[in-house]
């Protein structure tokens, strides 16, 4: 049967809008079941705030099972909180103890302006994908799916990086606010597959340049890997850099011609 966790002190970031100054507010949660998820604890707090006539704390969430990438909280300074390999919504209160102080902030980065309270705008990720994170394959013209045999290890490693949920924890964890893990994951997914070869260099060039327009630059801190709920490896950044160098080299050659 479930036990309960008592006397939590929450310091939560409240901010009315992108250009308004924000501040920490302190809230107490006297008791919560250890079976509750972290977000259910916030739901519970919000219900209380509403009943007191106060505005609820705004935070992003949807699937609550670690797949949609919507939830995005810094908990005690860690993106998605203390657990490894999970998103905020997968964190359970059994991770905490009686009397804990918990600091809850939004994902902070230049490229992720705060919309309100704990909600940030991550649409720059979409801009990166729009610039090249796809395979051009208009509907209708595809050949039979089994015409291309793809070695299982190739397909598996593409899948490893395709699992990225686009949450932005890597950016939030990075001291430079770089998006190389996110971009690298998408490039590694598509550039490893035979179907991705025709646009391989064009893709990486466009995506890296869009990324550089909005995000900080990577100086190999490696914080991103530890924060990533899908445990995407920094190897994808090496692949990103390698393909980008090759792409630049190829386009210089084209220019010279």
């Amino acid at each position: 049967m479930s036990n309960s966790i008592k006397n939590l002190t929450l310091k939560i970031w409240r901010q009315l809008g992108p250009t308004v100054k924000g501040t920490f507010e302190t809230y107490n949660v006297e008791e919560i079941s250890d079976e509750a998820s972290f977000l259910e604890m916030l739901d519970y707090l919000n219900e209380r705030l509403i009943s007191e006539g106060k505005t609820a704390i705004v935070f992003d969430h949807d699937c609550r099972e670690g797949i949609c990438g919507t939830c995005s909280l810094m908990i005690n300074g860690q993106a998605h909180g203390p657990q490894r390999g999970g998103a905020t919504c997968q964190l359970h209160m059994r991770t905490f103890s009686d009397g804990d102080n918990i600091v809850i902030e939004p994902f902070r980065a230049e490229a992720f302006p705060i919309i309100r309270d704990l909600m940030v705008d991550r649409s720059k990720f979409d801009r990166i994908i729009e610039s090249g994170g796809f395979i051009t394959a208009p509907t209708g013209g595809a050949p039979d799916a089994n015409l291309i045999a793809i070695p299982k290890p190739v397909s598996d490693s593409a899948m490893d990086s395709a699992q990225c949920i686009g949450c932005g924890a890597c950016v939030a964890a990075c001291p430079n606010g770089a998006a190389n893990l996110f971009t690298g994951a998408k490039v590694a997914h598509l550039n490893r597959l035979p179907q991705g070869q025709p646009e391989r260099f064009k893709r990486v060039e466009a995506m890296v340049e869009t990324m550089d327009e909005y995000f900080g630059s990577c100086t190999n801190h490696g914080e991103c890997e530890g924060a990533c709920p899908k445990e995407i490896s920094v190897d994808v950044i090496a692949l990103l850099n390698k393909d980008y160098r090759k792409a630049k080299f190829a386009s210089r050659k084209d220019l010279a011609r």
Partner: protein, 650 residues
């Protein structure tokens, strides 16, 4: 005269399902041969609004833009990639017959009609089976990393309700990979300027002028701004309404608002009582629970379902001797065993739990046991197949499924009912279409596993892009009403009044409180089993609670900024009204079929008893001015290619 014929004579709306002529195999080809075309140069003169960026919406928007239409795409999510489709785990069906096990378009067609308990429209289902094969080709071309065999070819698994292996999958994240495929294709079109994306924007109303869809009214969720958008056609690909139960496997923001507001503007809502309860979810653990988590049905391929024979059993699972276990699905349904259809296995679990044979601290689950397969194939193979699902389970339930059987219980998962559409996926409002889970089209009274992803992509990629052209071609050169038309202004004002109304009640209960209470009523009275008395009770409890909602709702904050409490209020209001329609629909269908199980109508063995004489029809409801007085319209279902037969998974 049968009841169907009686009711048909009383229809208040002309329902033309537009089924093409010809044999079942030829209908779709005949349709395409006869349909009107818009020439490529003229397509850019048409604006199409697509609401929703799940599998159905993203694939439709991307394809329409590739064809040359101007597309405006709307989602309340921050990014198209977050749509609820992302959460689908198990897989997607297609009649590829790559396993050479006797699959074919006809077999998939048959399985789907049978799985739906003969309450779907044959012509639509056959088309779905036909285009299923193109979906896999398309998704592979886009780089979806489906699971492969060592030889490099695509792998398949089997799913409930089928005796062939036709399900394609990408680990336990098939929905994610398919949605990312469709999202990338949509993103490409956004980058090229073919699609304009309106994210964090909620659809509130469809605007009709002279009976035709002229556009939509939306609310910018960040600024609270109410705005209008005009178009030649509007597609609603806004997903299902499983969250009417409050606790469900759906993402938190799934709701019925788009379909419901269209319904209130005249679109018929079909078969609302057909809601699917999924047999394999993690049981509820306490009162704080905000949603339930699905454990993919694919687990039933290798897991064996059982309960202790003795209701007073206290030993932990692995100490219970084989002879003291009841593998009830294998016992009751020897040929399908653990893969019996969803509704059948859900009810079997409910009955045993009701009899006190449930397991777990709250005795509210049954075991799903992997011991046999781990012994037979080894832990590595099992990890390869289900690793991430096992991990997910352990994270939530705090138990390791390699050692302890999982505990599972049915939960609300999918809704077969939805906006009534014809063969072209057009609602009865010209120019308004519905695709994916939002329509009622293909699954009848029960959906087979791995068929929703298939339907969403079929609708968006291979059906709508053709059928919309047929409607638009004759509109070439005609002007359409702009957003300054009085109908738009009226709808905008109504939306403002509605949201200000919620803010002004200043009562004592939050929208979530009402949602929870409403959900309990629907789950108890209109869930896995229904009866006349319970449904009548719900039809008196729901309006009473809705009245309370209108007078005692408490929404804090304001309307001109981001306010999630206010958003939720609108969605709960619509769930109330839908809930009343669900109960009304369930009450009027005096038979059991698929997921709609009326306890008064069952065989001696406790199976659903259909009444084909009187209920072989679609019930399509017209808004009658308030939630308690809808008008029933019926579309009789004719089975030409498949014989109406009693569904059996024995």
């Amino acid at each position: 005269m049968s009841l169907t014929q009686d009711l048909l004579a009383q229809n208040t709306v002309q329902l033309n399902s537009k089924i093409p002529l010809g044999s079942i195999e030829d209908k779709w080809d005949n349709y395409k041969a006869d349909m009107k075309l818009v020439n490529p140069g003229n397509k850019r003169k048409f604006k199409v609004i697509v609401v929703g960026t799940g599998l159905a919406g993203a694939s439709a928007a991307a394809t329409l833009a590739e064809l040359g239409y101007q597309v405006d795409s709307f989602t309340f999510h921050d990014s198209p990639r977050r749509a609820h489709s992302i959460a689908a785990q198990g897989g997607i069906n297609a009649a590829k017959n790559y396993q050479g096990d006797g699959d074919s378009v006809n077999r998939l067609f048959y399985d789907t009609v049978k799985g739906g308990d003969f309450r779907s429209r044959e012509s639509n289902v056959h088309r779905l089976a036909q285009v299923s094969v193109n979906i896999i080709d398309q998704m592979v071309a886009q780089g979806v990393p489906f699971a492969r065999e060592y030889g490099g070819l695509l792998d398949n698994r089997s799913f409930g309700g089928a005796q062939v292996s036709r399900t394609f999958y990408a680990r336990g994240q098939t929905g994610q990979q398919l949605l990312l495929g469709a999202y990338q294709q949509l993103a490409r079109q956004i980058g090229l300027g073919g699609v304009r994306l309106f994210n964090r924007t909620e659809f509130l109303d469809v605007v009709t002028v002279d009976g035709r869809a002229a556009g939509i009214v939306t609310r910018d969720l960040v600024t609270g701004e109410i705005e209008s958008h005009a178009a030649h056609a509007v597609v609603l690909a806004t997903g299902g309404y499983g969250n009417v139960f409050f606790l469900s496997t759906n993402a938190m923001s799934c709701n019925v608002t788009a379909a419901w507001r269209a319904h209130r503007k005249g679109a018929l809502f079909a078969n609302p009582c057909y809601t699917q309860i999924h047999p394999t979810c993690i049981p509820q653990s306490d009162d704080f629970q905000s949603k339930l988590t699905l454990m993919s049905e694919s687990l039933r391929n290798d897991g064996r379902v059982w309960v202790p024979k003795n209701p007073n059993e206290t030993r932990p699972a692995h100490e219970i001797a084989e002879t003291d276990r009841d593998y009830y699905l294998e016992r009751l349904y020897p040929s399908y065993g653990n893969l019996a259809a969803r509704d059948v296995s859900s009810r079997a679990a409910k009955r045993l739990v009701d009899k006190g044979q449930g397991v777990g601290p709250l005795k509210n689950g049954v075991y799903l046991d992997f011991n046999e397969v781990i012994t037979r194939l080894g832990r590595d193979v099992v990890q390869e197949r289900y690793g991430n699902l096992f991990e997910m389970y352990e994270r939530i339930a705090g138990e390791n499924p390699y050692e302890m059987p999982m505990r599972i219980y049915p939960a609300s998962h999918y809704t077969m009912g939805g906006l009534w559409v014809d063969y072209e996926l057009q609602t009865n409002i010209p120019g308004l279409y519905a695709a994916g889970e939002a329509n009622f089209s293909d699954h009848g009274a029960n959906r087979l596993g791995a068929s929703a992803l298939m339907q969403g992509l079929a609708d968006g990629y291979f059906v709508l892009p053709y059928t919309i052209g047929n409607e638009l071609a004759p509109m070439l050169g005609k002007t359409i009403p702009g957003v300054d038309h009085p109908e738009f202004k009226k709808a905008e004002q109504a939306a403002r009044d509605q949201y200000n109304g919620y803010l002004n009640i200043k009562g004592t209960r939050s929208p979530d409180w009402f949602h929870r209470e409403l959900g309990k009523i629907i789950w108890d009275r209109c869930g896995m089993e229904r009866d006349e008395q319970g449904l009548k009770q719900a039809l008196s409890d729901l309006p009473a609670l809705h009245e309370e909602f209108k007078t005692d709702l408490n929404v804090t904050g304001d309307g001109m900024s981001l306010n999630q409490t206010l958003e939720k209020a609108g969605r709960v209001d619509d769930f109330f009204q839908l809930g009343m329609l669900m109960c009304r629909d369930a009450l009027s269908r005096q038979e059991s079929c698929g997921t709609h199980f009326r306890t008064e109508h069952q065989t001696d063995e406790g199976e659903a008893k259909r009444d084909d004489e009187n209920y072989c029809h679609v019930s399509a409801w017209e808004w009658g001015g308030d939630a308690m007085s809808p008008n029933l319209n019926v579309e009789p279902l004719e089975f030409e290619a498949i014989h109406l037969a009693t569904r059996s998974y024995k």
